[in-house]
């Protein structure tokens, strides 16, 4: 076989191997998701079967119907949970991103005393596992009377997310050349206008990713929420999953159905925002 033909063959074999590898990796990543969707559609017997039943024999939407059927008919207050989750996640994301923008901008642009110490301090808060704080936080909230309230959850999640949003947004503002804001000021902008007209649009991909991450953290958080919420007043969807556990049984099908309900908005949001995540927008700003 001549040299070129064998090189061509090798290249083709590599392409195939590459695709197979990618497929396997995607399978590993997606399987849990698929399994949740499948489990929400089939009876518990099939879910618990050993060896596992891969292809569902009996598919029904019973779990979803039951979920929305109200108390006593196997239902849970899913709309309340959904509303709580939405209010808490959206509000705390907005606040965390606002603080993250202000903080990230300050860390990226200004020099001040104790800057690196402060930055390190913020990052160190990330090293403390949230669950370790749950008991102190619980006592504190009891004293303040904000157990089982939206505001309590929002506060906790803002605190959880702010170090991360500051860190991420700081990185994006650093990539926006300082000259641009200065040019805008020479062009007649105030500092404030220069920020909104020039720096903000350029850091938008970073701010969007910070927002997604913050939102998903709040939306999916379970450990703190399970300690700090009590009733439909503030219980979020992840905590709502516990409604499917009884003393001796766990309704896996119902739980999976609720999980699907939880995943859909998160997936939709990520899909919508992802087009803002295109990087490289700053290319061409400076240098030849």
């Amino acid at each position: 076989m001549d040299e070129n033909a064998s090189a061509r063959l090798t290249r083709r074999a590599l392409t195939v191997a590459h695709s197979v590898g990618l497929f396997l990796a995607m399978l590993v990543i997606c399987l849990p998701g698929i399994w949740i969707v499948l489990s929400s559609l089939r009876p518990t017997v099939e879910i618990m079967a050993k060896p596992p039943v891969w292809i569902p024999q009996e598919v029904s939407l019973d779990a979803y119907i039951a979920m929305f059927s109200g108390i006593g008919k196997g239902g849970i207050p899913v709309l309340d949970y959904f509303r709580n989750s939405l209010i808490i996640s959206v509000t705390s994301t907005v606040i965390a991103v606002a603080i993250g923008m202000a903080g990230g901008y300050a860390f990226a642009r200004y020099r001040f005393r104790g800057k690196s110490g402060m930055f390190l301090g913020l990052m160190l808060t990330r090293t403390v596992p949230g669950i370790a704080l749950s008991l102190p936080l619980f006592f504190l909230y009891v004293r303040l009377g904000i157990i089982d309230t939206h505001i309590g959850m929002i506060l906790a999640y803002v605190a959880l997310n702010v170090p991360f949003t500051i860190w991420l947004i700081d990185g994006f503002f650093r990539q926006v050349p300082k000259d641009l804001a200065e040019a805008a000021q020479i062009d007649g902008c105030t500092r404030w206008q220069a920020f909104w007209q020039v720096e903000f649009p350029l850091a938008r991909p970073g701010i969007a990713s910070a927002a997604i991450f913050a939102f998903l953290t709040c939306w999916n958080e379970f450990a703190l929420a399970s300690q700090l919420t009590r009733s439909v007043n503030s219980k979020t969807l992840p905590v709502g999953l516990l409604d499917y556990t009884a003393e001796f049984t766990i309704d896996w099908r119902g739980m999976c159905a609720l999980a699907v309900v939880m995943i859909i908005p998160a997936l939709t949001l990520t899909y919508i925002v992802q087009k803002h995540l295109v990087g490289g927008l700053t290319s061409g700003a400076v240098k030849g």
Partner: protein
């Protein structure tokens, strides 16, 4: 259009003083170049004029108005940055019109002025593109267009050509000169490239370590450098500068070689003075290959060995060994030479410079 006046302008960062109380008067419609090595304070000075840096002391007047504490937008200036600083999320048209939009101009007014600037700089084809789709030279032109659109009192240029390749730089230099002729406004141009300063400016301000060394026309700073630093900085290839001691009407160099003391300095020096002798490559040439202007009155001829040559086509730079070091000379109507050849060299001493070794100041009147 406006005059610019700097009075005792000072800049400090903490305890470190970067610009030490400089004074400068810039006339209306004048093209001034601030030139100096990196770290000399020229960019800081420009940024203070722009209002991008606070001033630590002194006064800045633009058009007779004190602007010390005014924000950049209230100074009616425009600035071209070294990095161009085009807004990457806007098209060329939006970049050009940005300042007008901020000022609240009407759509018609904006279109008219953008069209004017675009016509001056030949940007018509590029108006709908984004900066990332432009070449370096095009970006440079857009940056200048953005400056023109504002119709400012003063144009500030901060090393605008440093990011371009050599050929484009020469081309853009000409464009800037043409632009100044057209828009006729006051220009302050910062550069570290003395060729840019010489070719563009009406007057050159040479700065060093936060002080002004000399202010003068290109001809003045070239022919009558006030200090040893200016002598070495202006001119390419640079002036030959060597320390010497005055001794009985002669200049004796470190290795023992000597030259006659140029006549014009005889009354200004006395035996034992430590001086720096300077002669431009144009005034030190292979005999018969110099700028035969006929004005030479004091030519000193010696035979020296050639160490290397750098042919440039129309001329050759000849490095000749004198007093143990290489002195660069300019050979017009060049003939082939090779290292080791001994050739007759002429020092046109009437055009030589002498500086005090201690203060660096010129000993010319």
């Amino acid at each position: 259009m406006a005059t610019v006046s700097l009075k005792n302008l000072t800049k400090r960062y903490g305890n470190m003083e970067i610009v030490h109380g400089i004074d400068l008067e810039i006339a209306d419609r004048e093209f001034i170049a601030l030139v100096g090595p990196s770290g000399c304070g020229k960019s800081t000075t420009l940024r203070m004029i722009a209002g991008l840096e606070d001033i630590s002391g002194g006064e800045i007047d633009i058009g007779g108005r004190k602007v010390n504490d005014l924000p950049p937008r209230s100074r009616n200036i425009s600035m071209v940055f070294q990095s161009y600083a085009l807004y990457p999320h806007m098209t060329v048209r939006e970049n050009l019109g940005f300042s007008l939009k901020i000022a609240g101009a009407t759509k018609d007014e904006m279109d008219r002025r953008v069209a004017e600037a675009s016509a001056i700089l030949g940007l018509d084809e590029l108006l709908e593109r984004r900066p990332s789709q432009l070449s370096g030279g095009q970006r440079q032109r857009v940056a200048m267009g953005r400056a023109i659109v504002r119709d400012p009192d003063v144009f500030l240029f901060d090393e605008p050509l440093s990011n371009l390749d050599a050929k484009l730089r020469t081309q853009m230099r000409t464009e800037i000169k043409k632009l100044h002729a057209k828009v006729k406004s006051t220009v302050i141009y910062v550069t570290h490239d003395q060729v840019e300063a010489m070719t563009l400016a009406d007057r050159i301000v040479i700065m060093r370590s936060g002080y002004i060394e000399q202010v003068g026309t290109p001809d003045e700073v070239f022919s009558r450098p006030a200090t040893r630093f200016v002598a070495g900085f202006i001119g390419s290839p640079p002036m030959n500068l060597h320390e010497a001691t005055v001794s009985d009407g002669r200049l004796v160099f470190s290795a023992g070689d000597s030259l006659p003391l140029p006549g014009q300095f005889k009354s200004r020096t006395s035996t034992g003075d430590k001086v720096v002798f300077g002669i431009r490559p144009d005034d030190f040439y292979p005999t018969g290959h110099g700028l035969s202007s006929g004005g030479e009155t004091e030519v000193h001829r010696v035979e020296l060995p050639v160490s290397i040559t750098e042919p440039l086509g129309n001329e050759t730079l000849v490095f000749a060994e004198f007093n143990g070091t290489d002195w660069v000379s300019r050979m017009l109507n060049p003939k082939p030479l090779k290292a080791g050849d001994r050739i007759g060299m002429s020092f046109d001493l009437s055009r030589a410079h002498l500086f005090s070794a201690e203060t660096g100041k010129s000993l010319r009147n």
